[in-house]
């Protein structure tokens, strides 16, 4: 096994970011290739991580631990912040997903034509913080990466975005910041409640820790602390642990996003440039789901079990509400943004079910949605690059000008609406299956969730019919000469993703085998 593999995976894009920042602007052409190199490197390294990963255990693997900050606070004990990275069956699929999506995103960034230096530098910075977020096992470290994602995202939307980019980027920033604030509160609460028993023994004093692994064990909580599992401590009349769970949940729900905390998403997507939309939908939304699985659920299983029904309702509302909203859109990108809300609702439903099917399905759905939403946004980008226009009503019969584009869009639309054979189907199937299996959720609720697959068919096929079929026509006829079929670069971005979705749809067992053990282990605490 290679030492410090995960650190390397996380931090090497940072090197690229610095290199790009230091190079003079005259080396403009080199920037994108440096970014491609580092992203490719990341794909390779995550493949290496996959190679060394064992599916036989639920433990964290390749763990790296180093003391980072240790501060003695006298009678208050010792502050200990560690640098811990590790990978398990929930994070590995998401790591591989993000490395692929970031890679595709770089290629799609080739159309960015202003301030390339800042762009690629920020992009690689974003890559580092995403990886760090998925790998960190110390709450403080996680939070740091989580916050750090905001900075590049804010600029990527705010500087390279569309006409309303300032509004969108500030909205995105503030929304997420509010979420982080809630998470921060819980983090501090947890921190003062949890001690590291081993270190405490050594140091003969209370060593407080941010280690997520220690936080999942009830024995590590101080008996009278605010979040102690046994205590009946209440805040504002609510048991403190329940409150903490909800704060965490809302924090991650904003990221996910869950209705009614989702309105930043359509705006951010509409204004963001194509590659940023791809990264946003493909990876960043998954951090919400990942946060639930990594932090909220293992640390507060009691609250998670108690509120399973409420969470599932929120999930189903997202599915249905997002679907209806997608049906009402005329902007192609907005339609896809709302379809993301709908599809991420399945993730919440799967997680809330607290069954093996549901949780595995949720992880699967995250990966599947990562691939498919990347594809969808790339496809919008193809049209937008040519005409700077993406209103559904402005086009008819695109198939005559762009046959290959139409075929790939067709495949992607059908894959997204849950056609068997593609990954979307498996994700929806297993999250719904989890919903039905769960003894915490009523049958009617999950049944209501299936409305989502009808709506998905409606909005995707209606769009497909309106834009691609019929006699070729564009509202602005001067655009027609620009409607050329996919170029080589676009083919290289789109086709591998289509094949990935197909492969996952035919062999879902590959992905399930990664997450299965970890999920079973996680579920043990709910029994």
């Amino acid at each position: 096994m290679i030492p410090h593999l995960l650190s390397f995976l996380t931090f090497h894009p940072l090197v690229g970011s610095v290199v790009i920042a230091l190079l003079p602007n005259s080396q403009k052409e080199a920037f994108k290739w440096i970014a491609v190199f580092f992203c490719a490197c990341q794909v390779v390294v995550s493949a290496v991580v996959y190679y060394f990963f064992s599916t036989q255990t639920a433990d964290f693997q390749m763990v790296e631990k180093a003391d980072w900050i240790t501060l003695s606070m006298g009678s208050l004990g010792t502050v200990s912040i560690d640098f811990i990275l590790g990978v398990d069956g929930i994070s590995l699929p998401l790591i591989m997903l993000s490395s692929v999506v970031m890679m595709v995103g770089v290629f799609s960034s080739f159309s960015i034509a202003k301030r390339e230096k800042a762009y690629y530098s920020l992009y690689l910075l974003l890559t580092t913080s995403i990886m760090g977020c998925f790998l960190a096992l110390d709450f403080f470290l996680f939070f740091l990466f989580f916050e750090f994602m905001l900075l590049p995202m804010y600029f990527l939307i705010g500087l390279w975005g569309g006409p309303r980019r300032e509004y969108a980027s500030i909205k995105f920033f503030l929304y997420t910041l509010v979420g982080s604030l809630l998470i921060l509160i819980v983090m501090i609460g947890l921190y003062i409640s949890v001690i590291d028993p081993y270190e405490s023994e050594l140091a003969k004093t209370m060593v407080h820790t941010f280690d997520l692994r220690l936080m999942t064990d009830g024995r590590n909580y101080l008996p009278d602390s605010i979040l102690t599992p046994s205590g009946e401590i209440t805040l504002l009349g609510v048991p403190s642990r329940m409150l903490a769970f909800w704060l965490l949940f809302i924090g991650f729900a904003i990221k996910l996003p869950i209705v009614p905390l989702h309105t930043w998403l359509p705006d951010a997507h509409v204004e963001a440039p194509t590659p940023v939309s791809v990264v946003l939908a493909g990876v960043l939304l998954k951090i919400g789901g990942y946060g639930l699985l990594r932090i909220a659920y293992p640390i507060f299983p009691d609250a998670a079990a108690e509120y399973a029904f409420t969470l599932a309702i929120l999930g189903v509302i997202s599915i249905v509400y997002g679907g209806f909203n997608a049906l009402a859109q005329n902007d192609l990108k907005k339609m896809i943004a709302y379809s993301s809300v709908s599809h991420m609702g399945f993730v919440v439903l799967g997680i809330a079910s607290l069954t093996a099917e549901g949780l595995n399905g949720a992880v699967y759905q995250m990966v599947s949605h990562g691939i498919l939403s990347s594809l969808l946004f790339l496809l919008v980008g193809v049209l937008y690059d040519r005409t700077h226009n993406r209103l559904i009503d402005n086009y008819r019969g695109l198939i005559s000008y762009m046959p290959l584009y139409t075929i790939i869009t067709g495949i992607t639309f059908f894959a997204s609406l849950g056609l068997p054979g593609f990954s979307g189907f498996i994700g929806e199937l297993f999250t719904l299956m989890g919903g039905f299996q769960s003894d915490r959720l009523p049958v009617w609720l999950t049944a209501l969730g299936t409305l989502g697959i009808i709506l998905a068919a409606a909005y995707f096929l209606w769009t497909f019919q309106r834009m691609f079929f019929g006699k070729p026509w564009a509202k602005n006829p001067t655009e027609l000469p620009f409607l050329s079929d996919l170029n080589r670069l676009e083919k290289w971005m789109l086709i591998p993703l289509v094949l990935m979705s197909f492969a996952l749809g035919i062999f879902p067992g590959w992905l399930f085998s990664l997450s299965d053990k970890t999920v079973s282990h996680l579920l043990k605490i709910f029994e």
Binding site: G397, M433, T450, I453, L461, G470, K471, G509, S520
Partner: protein, 672 residues
């Protein structure tokens, strides 16, 4: 029922056949699709060759595996220690469908070679047909509900692609979308049913469900009824049952051979096939629902067919009605009879559609009112059409008579058993049979007799098609005779079909029912034949038309507003559709949710933003005026005081002395 033999996948030669059956059409699809235009000239032949191989394979299987149910299992993956299996089930029902699908597919492809000979995208057409064959075979071979659902959706996809084959026609694409959507609604129910089955039994494997869990049929608790009805939803969608039947007539926008293969013989029969599979574990209550839905569909289909003047639409409504008959048969427990009707219907209805294709090809119109006098010009088509139509109408000596009467007998027996109001169902069945005879003969007369009504110009050469198109039609017509199914033209009970699908009920061949049905059909035929002949006289048809119009008008005036708002399903509809009940609310909800998003949630978010900004400004002002003011005031004060006090330190010894003196005085005063 023979014991089910469960096998691992790789163990037998049978599983090889199984794989090949699925792999050939799939490779055909991929191959034809990737060769694109270059495949145009030989795409049809490749398709036929592949399907012929499949036909050969299925005949071999028929020969070897008849009367033994076999399950082939292969592990797909496992989760939480539970394996998820892909299973294939081969029993008599499978074998029958295999042969039907392949046979009709071969004939339709043969027909298509000539029918689409100047279509520039033939490769796409034949590729999609292969995709269809692949997915249809998947449904037929699937041994678990889950796997069946997978192929079920793929069939929906291929149907979508083929209906929308002429994608430049807005109506065709619209119809394709509509078909997929209405199917999806049914499929969502189907999926719920499957997941409920999985939840209850931990498996969706048909052999396990029907065998070990005999409990299901005995235990008629609400849940099992719900499961049954949910599963039946799949059939409602695919087999165009009420209330999701509207897509089938619109699906006629696709090429006519497609209508013959998919929308008459095979895909729409998938719902019947599904019912045949799940029949053993449907509860009596669920069966009643099935029977009622089937009856409504049967009647409505036949009733609407009367008003059709489009040659294909009439056949489509007739298909809806016949599917209703089969579903009703399933509902009343005459499962074998329903499957039998599926078989006979596949041949004669495919034959009728192909005949219609030849006619449309020749006269370039679909309106039967403009046809006429085609009998002499197209004798082969005329005879083929006549034979198939006779089978559809249910005349003795034709296959349709045997199967339809088998269902009606079953229905009457069931009604006798249930008693009372249950007789409505077989009686409506009889009436629908009469209506069927009525519209069939009317169309037959309009198309083939009389004079040319202007649909084709006289100088235009209208003649029979070439043999690519004739051969399939002739074969299908021959298959519509009784002799292939039973040597006794009046009763199929001793034919081969009921030998391989044995029926338990001993009482067969009720003379009464058959006489009744012949009588009703005769009345229908007479009425139909003379209804056009009577010309301006107020006949039954005009009366019915009047009632129909009134209802439609009422409907439009009541729901017209909704219809106008319902752009996305109704944009190309040319008749009032019932689906406004189902779909109209969706559009409205979508509109309102988006308004809610913009007007409520976003307004709130922005409001919070504004309030924060305003608050920030207020605080800023406060900061500037009060906090800063205080600071400034302090600074000013310090300066002021400093200025004043500076005077004390003026460097003159006299004033220091005065101050010191004052200080000493002060101390004396204070301390003493």
């Amino acid at each position: 029922m023979p014991d089910i033999c469960r096998k691992g996948f790789a163990s037998t030669r049978m599983s090889l056949y199984l794989i090949l059956l699925l792999v050939f059409p799939f490779l055909g699809f991929i191959g034809l699709f990737s060769f694109r235009k270059r495949a145009n000239n030989w795409a049809g032949y490749i398709g036929i060759a592949l399907t012929l191989m499949g036909l050969g394979g299925s005949l071999v299987m028929f020969n070897q595996a008849l009367n033994q149910s076999q399950v082939y299992l292969v592990e797909w993956f496992s989760m939480n220690g539970k394996p998820i299996m892909l299973s294939f089930l081969v029993d008599n029902q499978t074998l029958m469908m295999l042969v039907v699908v392949h046979l009709v597919a071969v004939l339709v492809q043969l027909f298509s070679i000539s029918y689409l000979h100047d279509e520039p995208a033939r490769w796409r057409y034949f590729a999609f047909l292969q995709l269809f064959v692949f997915s249809m075979l998947g449904i037929v071979l699937a041994g678990s509900l889950l796997l069946m659902y997978v192929f079920w959706e793929l069939v929906g996809l291929s149907s979508y692609l083929l209906i929308g084959f002429w994608y430049e026609r807005p109506r065709a694409v619209w119809a394709a979308k509509k078909a997929f959507l209405l199917n999806r609604i049914g499929d969502a129910g189907f999926l719920i049913g499957i997941l409920l089955v999985f939840w209850q039994f931990g498996t969706t494997e048909l052999s396990v469900l029907t065998h070990q869990n005999g409990i299901i049929s005995e235990d008629s608790s609400i849940l099992f009824t719900v499961i049954g009805v949910c599963l039946f939803c799949g059939a409602i969608g695919k087999s165009a049952q009420f209330p999701l039947s509207d897509w089938l007539p619109d699906a006629m926008e696709g090429p006519t051979p497609v209508s013959a293969l998919i929308h008459a013989a095979t895909m729409v029969a998938a719902g019947i096939f599904l019912l045949g599979r799940i029949h053993p574990f449907l509860t009596p209550d669920a069966l009643i629902v099935v029977a009622i839905i089937g009856t409504i569909t049967m009647f409505l289909g036949a009733y609407k067919a009367i008003f059709q003047t489009d040659i294909k639409k009439l056949l489509a409504y007739s298909t809806v009605s016949q599917l209703g008959l089969m579903v009703m048969g399933m509902g009343v427990g005459a499962k074998e009879a329903a499957l039998f009707h599926l078989l006979t219907h596949a041949f004669f209805k495919a034959g009728l559609f192909l005949c219609a294709g030849i006619i449309i090809h020749a006269v370039h119109t679909q309106d039967t009112r403009q046809m006429g006098g085609l009998r002499q010009k197209m004798p082969v088509t005329f005879w083929a059409y006549t034979i198939c139509a006779a089978a559809l109408a249910g005349l003795p000596f034709f296959s349709g008579f045997l199967s339809k009467d088998a269902i009606l007998i079953g229905a009457f027996e069931w009604a006798k058993h249930t008693g009372g109001i249950a007789f409505v169902i077989p009686v409506v069945g009889l009436i629908s049979a009469g209506l069927t005879a009525f519209y069939v003969i009317r169309q037959w007369k309009q198309v083939f007799f009389g004079e040319n009504q202007g649909g084709y110009r006289h100088e235009q050469i209208v003649h029979d098609a070439d043999s690519f198109m004739k051969v399939p039609v002739i074969l299908l017509a021959i298959l519509s005779f009784f002799i292939w199914f039973s040597f006794n033209p009046a009763d199929a009970a001793h034919g081969w079909f009921f030998c391989i699908f044995p029926v338990e009920a001993a009482e067969r061949g009720h003379g009464m029912v058959e006489i009744l049905s012949v009588l009703v059909v005769a009345i229908g035929l007479l009425g139909g034949f003379y209804s056009t002949a009577m010309g301006p006289l107020p006949s039954l048809i005009t009366l019915l038309q009047g009632i129909h119009d009134v209802i439609e008008k009422l409907f439009v005036s009541l729901f017209g507003k909704i219809r106008n708002g319902l752009k996305w399903l109704n944009e190309h509809a040319d008749e009032t559709d019932r689906h406004v009940f189902l779909i109209a609310p969706l559009q409205k909800i979508a509109y309102w949710t988006y308004r809610m998003d913009r007007r409520m949630i976003d307004v709130m978010v922005n409001g919070v933003g504004y309030v924060t900004v305003i608050g920030a400004h207020a605080i800023g002002r406060f900061d500037k005026l009060v906090v800063d003011g205080a600071v400034n005031a302090l600074a000013w004060l310090a300066g002021f005081v400093g200025n004043r006090i500076r005077n004390l330190q003026n460097g003159r010894v006299q004033s220091y002395f005065v101050v010191m003196l004052l200080g000493v005085l002060l101390m004396i005063l204070l301390f003493f």
